[in-house]
């Protein structure tokens, strides 16, 4: 196809004005996202402590990470343990609460607001501090246990068996955003489906298994991916509530990375850790996407 010079020039002009319009974003992206991203990739192959220039060390950081840093593997283990329990638990609670709130009754809007409230303060330091009080040696949980005659002397946050579970519980309690998305999804399910199912004699459980869950799979899929990522980069609660202790059982990946970076000033090592984390998250997301064809149901596919 032949395009006249004038038209081509006009096209170029169009392109240019387009780029100009998005230039604030472009500048921001290049300066604040792309450049640091590339810099961290470079740093991951160096020994860099901020104060002196980075020194190229090749694969040294990764070698150390994989073969010579038991704390690294402990942090990997802790993070996976956390994600494996916290993510399904949070999704389960979110779905349950969403179903509870998806009814027509008076004052339901107020209930919704109430149940969403914890998530507004959600990932904040204040909640973490509160959690520390609740599970402290002289905290709420132990006080309640004493009220009903139990010893109530467990040191939840300092006992390697329980510390991580206080954080998992916190995750379950911060269900808000997932719950909201579930709620929106539940509202999309046509009520005719339930009506005809109940005419056919299907009980509540059957309706849940055969209508609600299948119709909700796109939402579950989305929530699963988002929450998995959130679970793998968990940081604040571990820093504030347990400080990674005891015995490194809550020294999550992101926390350990932060420690290496800002307490030991091993920026190169920390950058390497960040890239490994990114690769793992990308890999896991790809895996979920790949399997999604088998279990995610889209109405519009017209099957």
């Amino acid at each position: 196809m032949r395009i006249s010079v004038a038209a081509r020039r006009k096209n170029a002009l169009n392109d240019l004005s387009g780029y100009l319009f998005i230039s604030p974003w472009l500048v921001g992206f290049i300066a604040l996202t792309l450049a640091p991203l590339l810099a961290s990739l470079y740093f991951s192959f160096t020994n860099y402590d901020i104060l002196s220039p980075a020194r190229w060390t090749g694969l040294e950081n990764f070698k150390k990470m994989f073969f010579n840093d038991p704390r690294y593997w402990k942090s990997v283990k802790a993070t996976l343990y956390y994600a494996v329990f916290a993510v399904p638990l949070r999704l389960g609670v979110a779905l349950a609460v969403a179903m509870f709130l998806n009814r027509k009754r008076r004052g339901i809007a107020a209930y919704r607001a109430l149940f969403y409230a914890p998530s507004i303060v959600g990932d904040s330091v204040a909640v973490a501090v509160m959690w520390r009080q609740i599970f402290g040696g002289e905290g709420l949980i132990n006080a309640c246990m004493r009220l009903v005659g139990l010893p109530g002397k467990t040191l939840w946050l300092a006992d390697p068996r329980f510390a991580i579970w206080t954080l998992i519980l916190l995750a379950a309690w911060q269900f808000g955003s997932a719950m909201l998305i579930f709620l929106a999804g539940l509202k999309q399910i046509p009520s005719e489906l339930y009506e005809s199912a109940s005419i056919d004699g299907a009980g509540k459980l059957r309706q849940f298994a055969s209508i609600t869950i299948p119709m909700l799979t796109p939402i579950i899929f989305f929530n699963l991916v988002m929450q998995m990522i959130n679970g793998l980069i968990v940081f604040t609660p571990a820093l504030i509530i347990t400080n990674g202790q005891p015995l490194d059982t809550t020294n999550f990946y992101a926390l350990y990375m932060y420690r290496r970076a800002f307490e030991n000033f091993q920026m190169g090592y920390a950058s390497g850790m960040a890239w490994i984390l990114m690769v793992v998250i990308a890999g896991l997301s790809a895996l979920i996407f790949k399997t999604s064809g088998r279990w995610v149901f889209y109405e519009s596919e017209g099957r």
Binding site: I50, L51, S52, N68, D69, R71, G136, G137, E138, L155, W156, L157, A158, D159, P160, T242, N243, Q245, P246, L247, D248, R259, F262, E263, N264, F265, Q266
Partner: protein, 436 residues
Amino acid sequence: MTKRMTAALCAAAFALMSFGAWAQSSQKVELKIAWWGSQVRHEATIKVIELYQKLNPNVSITYEFASFDDYWTKVTTMAAGGQLPDVMQQDYSRIAEWQKRGLLEPLDSYVSSKTLNLSDVAKPIIDSGRLDGKLYAVSLGSNSYSMMLDVDAFKKAGVPLPAQDWTWNDFEKVAMKIHEKLGIYGIGGGFEVDELAWKSTLLSAGKTMYTADGKNLGYDQSYDRLLVDNLKLLQRLIKAGAAPTYAEYLASFGGSSNNVQLDAIVTGKSAIEAVWSNQVVAVAKAAGPGRNFAVVHLPRLKKGGTPGNFLKPSQFFSVTSQSKNKVEAAKFIDFFTNDLEANKILNAERGVPIAGKVRAALKETAEPVNKEIFNYLDRVSKDAAPTPPPEPSRHADIRNNVYVPLIREQVFYGQITPEDAVKQLRAKALEILLKP
């Protein structure tokens, strides 16, 4: 908007701008100062800064403060961006690293011109800030680790206060006895937290953790036994209930929160606590009025032997090489060191003042606890191990990634024997130290 209003606004803006230019030309010197510490220190330091500004109206000072760990994150980032404050607090364990990177300004010329007057300071104290023959830092006070004793608890238990040259054996007996009589802990937590057990037992044996060049451990395998013995001693105390388990320490005594209010000795749950001497004041303050405390040397390995104590410059002030007002910065440090009023406000919270006149004046007016510290430092200066060389820059890595997880956690959660832990400590510390 009318035309006239616009014109008026423009005029106003112009006037403001020119005023700004004028203010700048009046040579207002701007200084920035940064330190770490506790709330007590922040308040006192800010008061001194205000006093300085009042006496020197041409100087305007901004400041930043943080806790120890946050402080280093902050200043390191500042250094990378060329934004370092003019005066920064420095630590004995970090100063070598900063000096090596050329971030600190040598102060010798200011000292010889008496801009920074150190004529009232003993030479060893001045020299603690000397690296490669040049002075890079001025000590803000002298400090030493100590055992803080709750005198009333000792009386109640009928246990005499330990003598200056008590041994670790004596220490164990005292702690056990107090626990037997009163049911409280003999020693509160925190004892195993710092490298105290590691460092002080070596000092007491005439050794140091690292060689002077910081490239190797300063002791051979035959000395590993010292740390093993010390850890075992603590394990015995914990088993007997005379010291809190590490979990109890974490959960109940502010382990990770650094909250003095929760210290076992403050809440009366323990009769002894290992603290840096400059922190004694804060701990006593948290305990409130009506309590009596004494301070004694760390126990030593054998009677009449070298103590595990050494005299440490608590922290320093340094002028950074990125400062634009180095002379003014030096003047401020001079004020901080020699001014009597300023030091009355600071109240020896950074350690016993280094200037002789200031020290003498403060000692006279001091409250009982402060007096105890002054006397303690006098005793230590006559009976201490030689001050070990500053820790090498790799010490932070060894401490955070080897010592703490291994000794502090695995040993006290019973996951590993002291023997194995100490063996691993040596191997892994060497690995970090010997890395090119």
